[in-house]
Amino acid sequence: MSKTISLKRGMDIKLVGEAEKITVDAARSKYYAIRPGDFHGLTPKMLVKVGESVKAGTIIFHDKYNDVINYASPVAGTIHEIVRGEKRKILTVLIEAAANDDYEVRNPVNPSSADAGEVKAELLSCGLWSLIKQRPFDIVANPENEPKAIYVSAFDSAPLAPDYDYVMHGKKAEFQMGLQVLKKLTSGQVHLGLNGKSKHEDVFTSSEGVVHTSYVGKHPAGNVGVHIHHTNPINKGEYVWVVNAQDVAIIGKYFMTGRFDLTKLVALTGSEVKFPKYYRVISGAQLSSILGGNTKTENEERIISGNALCGTKEAFDSYLGYHDNQITVLPEGNQMKFFLTEGWLSLGFNKLSNSRLYPSFLFPNKKYRLDTNLNGEDRGFVVTGEMERVFPFDIYPMQLIKAAMSDDIDSMESLGIYEVSPEDFALCEFVCTSKINVQDEIRYGLDLIKQECF
């Protein structure tokens, strides 16, 4: 019998523009991109040159400081351009896609008979290791570490998040195979976090060999960080690996077919989308191939690869993030707001707030069309207790943020920085009255510790 954990603290942000459960194939984009920036802290070492032709699954670059971790091309085609930034830092590798995908031919080991080392070597060499992230630090897992557990979440509670039951429908065999592969990688357990509020598809509920735990609560109940904290919290020196459910199926598919196929379903959501629905795309696709003609107003909108709380701002002709399962399009909030009609002294029926200073608490089921305005100015910490209300961890969020801001490594360690990743603080950032960029501060703290202590 699976355990159920109920979480009292959190906040569901209900926005207009939930994806309808219709899937269409996105047009094949002209270019696909793989961006080192999607893998935090990665310095790539290129293995191909511009003009070389590649297949789907051809290794494009590896980690300069850990060269066993390979990164592969999502599609077949030719290397079109290597875009570099300051100090020749590689920003984007563009692959001009061929009309059809031609896959690298591989013969993956059989995970049921292979040992852990062989499975690991297989994932590293084929390029799928990039889908496995580690806590602490929220980076691509270091294969030298031994994870005490691996976590997969069967639901996403973020605003307008894709419905994993829909997305994973019919992928039972791949998902089960993927879990079997992950099980080889840890001496501990593979945990699958289920949504205690709804009934899941058979793909999740009948999965075998994993520990099922249900979580009942508001966002961030679906975050793996919350699952880890409540079942097997990370202490200093321990590692936990996490993999997205769709990525588990991608890994499983590879071991079944030998194909490096990053095709997944991505939810196109947000109030500025004409017909929000699901698209079948390959990771790294051009956003314009999905968005083209489906947004309400050009230029006046914010395109986010990921969800509204922790996604990445992208341009219309930019690319889908490597790990993202969602695209959100919201109105830009770059207009001044008069204080009586829309600003700080207005009635504010169109504003969402976790405090009771706006009437939104009276309408818990209303869906909002929120823009990207900061709704205030950057200030010092004043209000206390607001972050705790949306942070279901036994951690003091404000104190941890302050420790990160003041480079206080000892305090960060003792306050529990190893258990969190920036996405766990997304709601704290949303509710902050003083408009502090909390996720940046946490990321800064994690980077500092990684640099100083690891």
Binding site: F339, W344, Y358, T372, E377, V383, T384, L415, Q439
Partner: protein, 397 residues
């Protein structure tokens, strides 16, 4: 509004760096952001943000203070007439317009001076340090006059405000960085620098007093109970002079905004309904005061200790302190359980100072200032408990 927006945008370059009025940039900024929430957008992380900002939060506190301010003006007018006529039992709800007008004439200049001087100092500091003017003083500026006796001269209000803003806040880095409550810093400054203007029996009534009239407060009179020449006849005497209902409604002499517990409670309802004030602090503050009052009742070795415990909650600045001063989130404890301890000790110490210390009739100010200093210590132990839990887990693992 488009017109105003256009005008503001037109003026912007004049105040921008290199503009003619560059030095007034932060004043322009303060006014512009008052009228319009800026067009600033998010760039990373949470792309959408909560509608709430510090302006709205602070404004709610100012709004919550309005009942206390209005009632304070009326009460000031009443006691002025009492002092002039020498008749303690002058009907309270009579000549209402005259009383209110007199109170307004006395109190509004104090509010104006407090805001004017305080914002002036803030502006100078912001210009020197190059950061925008923050909203914190919106509340402090209203609190300062409300916790002064009406007879404090305007220049003292100005000096106290300067002291509070500079030493209480700006030297620590501005809004959100202060250690003790700003408004109480102002009051404490006057209390120790000009004690004759802050306590005694001549400062609570406005204007010239009739011969032989003594206008003390409940706490001032209570203090004499343990002295050599009590001005009231024991506990029953003081309870007759200031009934519970009078004290609760606030129809007694005292600092401008503090007398009416009812007005403070109306403010408290607003603060609690919006979530701006902490119920933990207000409630535990009251419990703290009540517990100590009951403890003293039980001991009961002198007349002061026999004053009913509930009276402590409605006289002096207890209610005002609990609702508006102790709940200042910056100087209060910041952890949930820390707030309970902080409030409890705040209320308890206030009553201890009142009853046991003959030098200070009113203990709320000192007790809250003391707990402001102690709040980080309370938080430290609360957080340490969390750290120890984590540490223990590490040892088990």
């Amino acid at each position: 509004m488009k017109f105003l927006e256009k005008q503001l945008k037109k003026l912007e370059p004049t105040f921008a760096k290199g503009g003619k009025l560059e030095k007034l940039h932060y004043v322009y900024d303060a006014l512009a952001t008052f009228a319009f929430t800026p067009a600033t957008t998010t760039s990373r992380g949470a792309h959408i943000r909560d509608g709430v900002d510090l302006k709205r939060t602070m404004f709610i506190v100012v709004l919550a203070l309005i009942p206390a301010l209005i009632f304070g003006m009326y009460n000031t007018g009443h006691w002025h007439m009492v002092a002039e006529s020498g008749n303690w039992n002058l009907p309270y709800w009579d000549q209402m317009l005259d009383k209110f007008l007199y109170g307004a004439i006395k109190v509004l200049p104090m509010v104006a001076v407090s805001y004017g001087v305080g914002l002036g100092v803030e502006f100078i500091f912001c210009n020197i340090k190059g950061h925008p003017i923050h909203e914190g003083f919106l509340v402090s500026g209203m609190l300062i006059p409300l916790i002064m006796p009406v007879e404090v001269p305007l220049w003292m209000v100005a000096v106290a405000t300067i002291f509070a803003v500079v030493i209480g806040k700006e030297v620590f880095g501005g809004t959100g960085m202060n250690i003790v409550n700003i408004a109480l810093t102002a009051r404490a400054f006057l209390f120790f620098a000009y004690p004759t203007k802050m306590s005694g029996d001549t400062v609570w009534m406005g204007g010239k007093e009739a011969d032989g009239f003594s206008g003390a407060t409940f706490l001032g009179d209570a203090q004499t109970l343990v002295g050599e020449s009590p001005v009231v006849d024991g506990v029953s005497g003081i309870m007759e002079k200031y009934s519970f209902m009078d004290s609760f409604l606030g129809t007694i002499p005292g600092s401008i905004g503090e007398t009416s517990t009812l007005a403070c409670l109306i403010g408290a309802v607003l603060l609690l309904a919006t979530g701006v004030g902490s119920l933990r602090i207000i409630f535990s503050f009251a419990i703290g005061g009540l517990s100590l009052g009951l403890l003293f009742n039980a001991i009961g070795v002198n007349a002061y200790m026999d004053i009913p415990a509930y009276m402590h909650l409605v006289v002096g600045g207890f209610a005002f302190g609990a609702v508006f001063m102790a709940t200042d989130p910056v100087s209060a404890a910041q952890t949930a359980s820390g707030k309970i301890w902080y409030g409890f000790f705040g209320g308890a110490i206030a009553v201890v100072i009142r009853v046991l210390n003959p030098a200070y009739p009113e203990g709320v100010m000192l007790s809250i200032l003391f707990m402001n200093i102690m709040a980080p210590l309370i938080d430290h132990y609360v957080i340490q408990a969390n750290i120890n839990r984590r540490f223990k887990r590490l040892k088990v693992a």
